[in-house]
C-alpha cells in the first residue's frame, strides 16, 4: 500500500461498498481488532516501557519519573505528563519539527484516558506535601503508522505503567538516583483503562482502522473506559453524529473493550 498519498477516492468508495456488506479488505469483521502483540521492558533505562504492535502499527512507550514541586492546586498529589511524537521514521507523512496538532492531540487524549481513569494513585506519589512530589512522564513514539496509533499508544501507556518501578530517591540529598530502581512498583489502582476508537465510514462504524480506512473516516470517537465506566472521550473530525449513532458507538466500544482486554490481559498483571 502507498502510505505517502492519502487513500484515493476510488479505493475509498470500494472500502465503503465492502463495509455495506460487512466486509473489510483484510477480511476482518467491522468490530474486530487486528493481532495485538506486546513486549515489555524494551528500553532498560526507562522506569517502565512497552512495545505495542497492532497489525503493522507499532509504538514504543516509556515511563520516566522525577521529583518536582507539586502544582499549587494539588499540593499532595504527584504529576502526570504525557507526550507523543509522530516520528518521521514511522511514516512518510510525518515531518521533522515541533509537534503539530495530531501529535499534541494524541498526547492529550491519552493523558486524559490515563489520568481520569484514576489508574495512577497520585496521592501516593507525594513525597512532602506542598514541596516535593513525583512526576510521571509517559513518552510515546510512533515506530510504524498503519492506522489506529491512538489505541496502540494508550495500550502502550497502560502496559508500560504496569511494569514501572520507582527510582531510588535520596531524601537527605533530595536527589533521584537515576538508573537505580527500587523494587516498588508505581502505585496503581485495579482499573484497566483501555482506549478504543470507533470510526464512521459511510453508514458503518468500525474499530481499529488501517491507515487506508482511517483516511476515509468521516468522524472518530475515542473512548477511554475501564470495566464499563467511561472516563474520557474525544470526538475528532467534522461529521456530525445522530444521537442514535452515538449510542451505537457506545455499544460497539463496550463489546470491543472485552475483546481487547482478553488479548492484552496477561500483560496487565
Amino acid at each position: 500500500m502507498n502510505t505517502t498519498m492519502k487513500t484515493s477516492n476510488i479505493t475509498g468508495e470500494r472500502i465503503k461498498k465492502y463495509l455495506e456488506q460487512g466486509k473489510r479488505f483484510d477480511g476482518r469483521k467491522l468490530d474486530e481488532f487486528r493481532e495485538i502483540s506486546i513486549e515489555t521492558g524494551v528500553s532498560k533505562n526507562a522506569e517502565g516501557s512497552a512495545r505495542v504492535k497492532i497489525g503493522n502499527t507499532e509504538v514504543l512507550v516509556g515511563v520516566k519519573m522525577n521529583t518536582s514541586e507539586p502544582y499549587p492546586d494539588s499540593p499532595d498529589k504527584g504529576n502526570l505528563m504525557v507526550t507523543a511524537e509522530l516520528l518521521p521514521l514511522s511514516s512518510p507523512r510525518f515531518e521533522n519539527g515541533p509537534p503539530k496538532f495530531p501529535a499534541i492531540e494524541m498526547g492529550r487524549v491519552i493523558d486524559r484516558a490515563i489520568r481520569e481513569s484514576k489508574l495512577i494513585d497520585v496521592e501516593k506519589l507525594c513525597i512532602k506535601k506542598g514541596e516535593k512530589v513525583w512526576t510521571v512522564f509517559i513518552d510515546i513514539y510512533s515506530i510504524n503508522d498503519d492506522g489506529n496509533l491512538f489505541d496502540a499508544a494508550e495500550i502502550g501507556a497502560l502496559v508500560a505503567l504496569k511494569n514501572t518501578k520507582i527510582p531510588k530517591y535520596d531524601e537527605k540529598e533530595d536527589k533521584v538516583l537515576f538508573g537505580e530502581l527500587t523494587d516498588k512498583k508505581i502505585p496503581l489502582s485495579k482499573n484497566t483503562p483501555i482506549s478504543i476508537t470507533a470510526h464512521k465510514i459511510g453508514n458503518n462504524f468500525i474499530v481499529d482502522p488501517t491507515l487506508e480506512e482511517e483516511d476515509i473516516s468521516e468522524t472518530r470517537v475515542t473512548i477511554g473506559s475501564s470495566n464499563g465506566i467511561i472516563s474520557s472521550m474525544q470526538k475528532g473530525n467534522l461529521c456530525a453524529l445522530k444521537t442514535e449513532e452515538m449510542s451505537k458507538i457506545l455499544d460497539l466500544i463496550d463489546k470491543t473493550y472485552t475483546e481487547v482486554f482478553k488479548k492484552i490481559e496477561k500483560h496487565l498483571k
Binding site: S43, N56, K64, L87, P88, D139, I143, N144
Partner: protein, 233 residues
C-alpha cells in the same frame, strides 16, 4: 610494555560488545534496520529518494543525503526533553558526513534521501550504532552505494588502548589518564569517513586505536551483510 587494564565488563582490550542486527523492521519505510551493541540499540529508517522540499535546498548537481539523529526521551537514565538539541544536531551532521561518501546520488538531482535514526536504548556508542543501522537501512532501501560503512569506537582507559567503550568506561572511568573515546567509521575497503576524539591520547596510541577499530569494523561489516541477506520479505 604497559600492563593491560582490567575492564569492569571483563572484556579484553580489543574485544567489542556483543552485536546483532536486523533489517526490515519498519514496513512503511523504503529501508530500515536495527543495530544492537551491548545495551545500545539504534533503529533507522530511510525514505526516498524523493523531491527535496523546500525548493531552495535542492541541489541540481546531485541528490542530497539528509540524516537526523535523536535519542528517545527514556533511552537514558536521566530523561531527555523531546526535540532536537545541540548534541543531536551535531551528531546528525557527523552521521551525514560518515555516510555521504559512499552513497551515489549523482543520478538524483534535486532529490533527497532522508535517514531517520533513533536510539531506543542508550549505553554509549550511540552514534556508531546509529551509523551502522543507517548504512544497512540505506542498502535495504536500494540506494546505490559504493561501499558499506561500519562504525565502532576505540578508546583509551588510563594508558591502555581499548575497543568500544561502554557507558561506565565512557562516563565514569577516572583512573590515571581517564578515558578517551574515539568513534570512527570505515568503508568496507578500509577508508575513514568519520573520526572524533574526546580525551587525552598520544599520536602513537591514536594510530594504534585506529588500527584496532579498523580491524573491528570488518567484524561489524560481516554482521551487517548477514542481516541484509536475511531480510524477511
Amino acid at each position: 610494555m604497559v600492563k593491560e587494564i582490567k575492564r569492569k565488563s571483563g572484556r579484553k582490550a580489543d574485544e567489542m560488545r556483543p552485536i546483532s542486527a536486523k533489517v526490515g523492521i519498519i514496513p512503511n519505510a523504503d529501508g530500515s534496520a536495527m543495530y544492537k551493541s551491548g545495551e545500545t540499540i539504534a533503529i533507522a529508517a530511510v525514505y526516498g529518494p524523493k523531491k527535496m522540499h523546500p525548493q531552495h535546498s535542492q541541489n541540481p548537481a546531485k541528490g542530497t543525503l539528509r540524516c537526523t539523529y535523536s535519542m528517545l526521551s527514556f533511552s537514558v537514565t536521566d530523561r531527555i526533553r523531546p526535540g532536537p538539541n545541540r548534541r543531536s544536531t551535531e551528531i546528525s551532521k557527523i552521521i551525514e558526513w560518515a555516510l555521504d561518501p559512499v552513497v551515489m546520488l549523482d543520478n538524483y538531482p534535486n532529490m533527497v534521501v532522508d535517514v531517520h535514526i533513533h536510539m531506543t536504548q542508550a549505553d554509549a556508542g550511540t552514534r556508531c550504532a546509529g551509523i551502522n543501522a543507517a548504512a544497512m537501512a540505506l542498502a535495504h532501501a536500494g540506494i546505490p552505494m559504493k561501499n558499506m560503512v561500519s562504525s565502532i569506537a576505540a578508546g583509551k582507559l588510563d594508558k591502555t588502548v581499548v575497543l568500544d567503550l561502554d557507558k561506565y568506561e565512557d562516563s565514569d572511568f577516572e583512573e590515571g589518564e581517564g578515558s578517551t573515546d574515539i568513534p570512527m567509521s570505515f568503508t568496507d575497503d578500509g577508508k575513514l569517513t568519520h573520526i572524533q576524539v574526546d580525551g587525552y591520547i598520544s599520536k602513537e596510541q591514536l594510530k594504534q586505536a585506529i588500527e584496532m577499530a579498523k580491524k573491528a569494523s570488518g567484524k561489524i561489516y560481516e554482521v551487517q551483510e548477514k542481516a541484509l541477506k536475511e531480510i524477511e520479505k
